[in-house]
């Protein structure tokens, strides 16, 4: 009985399924690889109940924000609703009640969703960009650069950001875009620390040395090896940064530093507070934006934590 040995001794054995040997261009390979990585990530994310719940919340609010772009702006104009009930409790016509000018709180909340989310996102992008660049520079370059940049980072870490934000708002005015920049510029330090730590650890890995031995320039090493290793950590961190940015914006608006023209949730709470909603028992006016802020921040936090679990530490399949 002549049979071939179960596995040929000279061929190297692999455990992965056999792939069709087709002609693959490097670009196709890259796309194939990215698709595989994304689907693996999604599969892992779906396992996390916390992540999926958070994602559901976020999708809901993003939907609301998008809807607000097409909604009837007239509902927000106090001159239009002079005939409506003021400070009326929730009813069928006004599901979240009305505020002191008779404007539906629901309409205000929907509008606020767009503003708050946008500010949070934009500020987080600035914060992430600044933090990543500074962190990478500090981690990759020489000890001197590192020391200087880290001292600057330390300063920003310990500064009471609220005090700084108030000063900056007083100096540059209360403009929608200024607020975004202020939040971005005062919150990058945490990301910078994180990125620097990651760069330092990746820099020492042997495959970096191999790349250099092959003849790679610094740029090649940073682009091809260090940055891809940073992306998961940066991404997870950005999600959390958005949550913090939204909270920060609410704080600033509540203190009256927000842009009076754009009604974010924080601005709503501020107005409600100043109009005496508490004493007038108009709880719906205060609760609606507050609960929304809590839910959105919770949503981002849950998604961020779920991503963190997947990304850190890397769980290998073997």
């Amino acid at each position: 009985m002549k049979t071939e040995p179960a596995i040929a001794a000279t061929e190297t054995e692999i455990r992965a399924p056999v792939l069709q040997p087709k002609k693959l261009t490097p670009r196709q390979l890259k796309r194939a690889r990215r698709r595989r990585a994304l689907s693996r990530f999604w599969a892992a994310f779906r396992q996390s109940k916390m992540g999926m719940a958070g994602l559901a919340i976020l999708i809901f609010f993003v939907g609301v924000a998008i809807f607000s772009m097409f909604a009837n702006k007239g509902a927000l104009d106090p001159t239009v609703t002079t005939n409506g009930p003021r400070l009326a409790g929730p009813s069928l016509k006004y599901p979240l009640g009305t505020q002191v000018d008779g404007i539906s709180v629901l309409s205000l909340t929907i509008e606020g969703a767009r503003i708050s989310l946008f500010v949070g996102l934009a500020a987080a992008i600035i914060s992430m960009a600044l933090g990543t660049i500074i962190g990478m520079w500090a981690g990759y370059k020489s000890a001197v650069h590192d020391a200087i940049l880290m001292r600057i980072t330390d300063v920003f870490l310990v500064l009471p950001w609220l005090a700084l934000a108030i000063v900056l708002a007083a100096m540059f005015g209360q403009n929608f875009w200024i607020i975004i920049v202020i939040i971005g510029v005062t919150s990058w330090a945490g990301t910078a620390r994180l990125v620097r730590a990651q760069v330092l650890s990746v820099k020492e890995r042997n495959y970096i040395e191999r790349s250099r031995a092959l003849g790679a320039s610094d740029a090649h090493v940073v682009i091809k090896h260090i940055t891809p290793n940073l992306m998961p950590v940066i991404f997870a961190n950005t999600i959390l940064t958005i949550a913090i940015a939204i909270l920060s914006e609410s704080q600033l608006s509540f203190l009256g530093l927000g842009d009076p023209q754009s009604k974010s949730w924080g601005t709503m709470i501020d107005e409600a507070f100043h109009a005496g909603a508490l004493t007038l028992h108009a709880w719906w006016w205060l609760m609606a934006p507050s609960i929304c802020i809590v839910l959105v921040v919770l949503g981002f936090t849950m998604v961020g934590f779920a991503m963190d679990e997947i990304v850190n530490p890397r769980i290998r399949e073997r």
Binding site: K2, T3, P5, A6, T12, E13, R15
Partner: protein, 328 residues
């Protein structure tokens, strides 16, 4: 007097990916004052055996078969008795003392802890014994106030040995004790282990992948592959006249300097040690074996007689039954 006896020992890990049979039926005996060397590569199950003897595996891990330490069945020990037996009956010298020593505790304290946990001495007595142990392993007693990071790799391994001897066990399990060390330091530590074992009359189970080290240190040798023992016998005989093709290949990987057979001729095996979850049919070694015949794909070999005091699990040995009479 038999100190350790294992019969048909089987250890299976449960993981997310299914059951992993790390040890699939291993039997051996170690007598008082004897050193048994256990050699094999990754995935063969040798380190699993070390953990099984002291029941250090997680509760999910299934351990079946017989495992007796000085006549007592280890697998059915109640927790209280198990704790008492651990370290006093048998102790382990781990690999990579880097991680086995608490970095924020002085080494003297760590040795004393081992003694005191077993209520064997008062604090004062324990301190004295710790100092004596350090001397026994070649370190000046004053070093007991040092922290692990103040010691070199070789010195840390000596501390590990001192800890293992703290409660005067009858069996010492050495699990890759010298793997991470430099050649010269390795030789020193091996010399120490050998002399301590001899002076104290210890039984020792010496586990490593480095076959050449084992031949020096052990009285008897057992070679493991894919969760089973494939050859056993007197150490030097097994190394110099291997009966199992795997042993021959493993021995060839450690050529003697001066042996012209290996000059410019590196000997090795194709393929890789098998994944415990995908063990080939029949003889697990057959895909990599030069002397494999058709029968090897279906016949599961047992440890058959291969000479005086020797057994090997291969169809080619003298004591193997003729192929017609062996089922699959």
């Amino acid at each position: 007097m038999t100190v350790l006896r294992a019969e048909d020992l089987r250890v299976t890990y449960s993981t997310k990916g299914g059951d992993v049979p790390a040890v699939r039926g291993v039997s051996f005996e170690i007598d008082k004052g004897e050193v048994l060397g256990l050699a094999g590569e990754s995935g063969c199950g040798k380190s699993t055996i070390a953990g099984a003897i002291l029941r250090l595996h997680s509760p999910n891990t299934k351990i079946e078969g017989t495992l007796e330490l000085e006549g007592e069945d280890v697998l059915s020990l109640k927790p209280g008795r198990l704790r008492a037996v651990r370290w006093t009956g048998a102790s382990i010298v781990f690999q990579g003392a880097l991680h086995a020593l608490n970095p924020v505790q002085k080494i003297g304290d760590q040795i004393e802890e081992a003694i005191q946990v077993h209520g064997m001495a008062t604090q004062k007595e324990a301190a004295v014994r710790a100092g004596a142990l350090l001397e026994q392993v070649g370190l000046p007693p004053r070093r007991k106030d040092d922290y692990p990071h103040e010691l070199s790799g070789g010195q840390k391994q000596r501390v590990m040995i001192a800890m293992a001897l703290a409660c005067s066990p009858t069996l010492v399990i050495a699990d890759e004790p010298t793997t991470a060390l430099d050649v010269m330091v390795q030789a020193q530590v091996l010399q120490l282990l050998r002399s301590l074992q001899h002076d104290l009359g210890l039984a020792m189970l010496f586990i490593t992948h480095d076959l050449s080290v084992l031949v020096d240190v052990s009285d008897r040798l057992a070679i493991m592959y894919a969760g089973k023992i494939v050859e056993e016998g007197k150490a030097s005989e097994v190394f110099h006249a291997p009966q199992h093709p795997y042993t021959a290949a493993l021995a060839a990987a450690f050529p003697e300097i001066g042996d012209t057979r290996f000059r410019h001729r590196p000997a090795g095996l194709g393929g890789d040690p098998p994944d415990p979850q995908h063990i080939p049919s029949g003889c697990p070694f057959h895909p990599r074996c030069e002397r494999a015949i058709d029968a090897c794909q279906t016949v599961v070999p047992e440890l058959w007689d291969a000479g005086p005091g020797r057994r090997a699990a291969c169809v080619h040995v003298a004591g193997a039954p003729s192929l017609e009479s062996v089922g699959s």
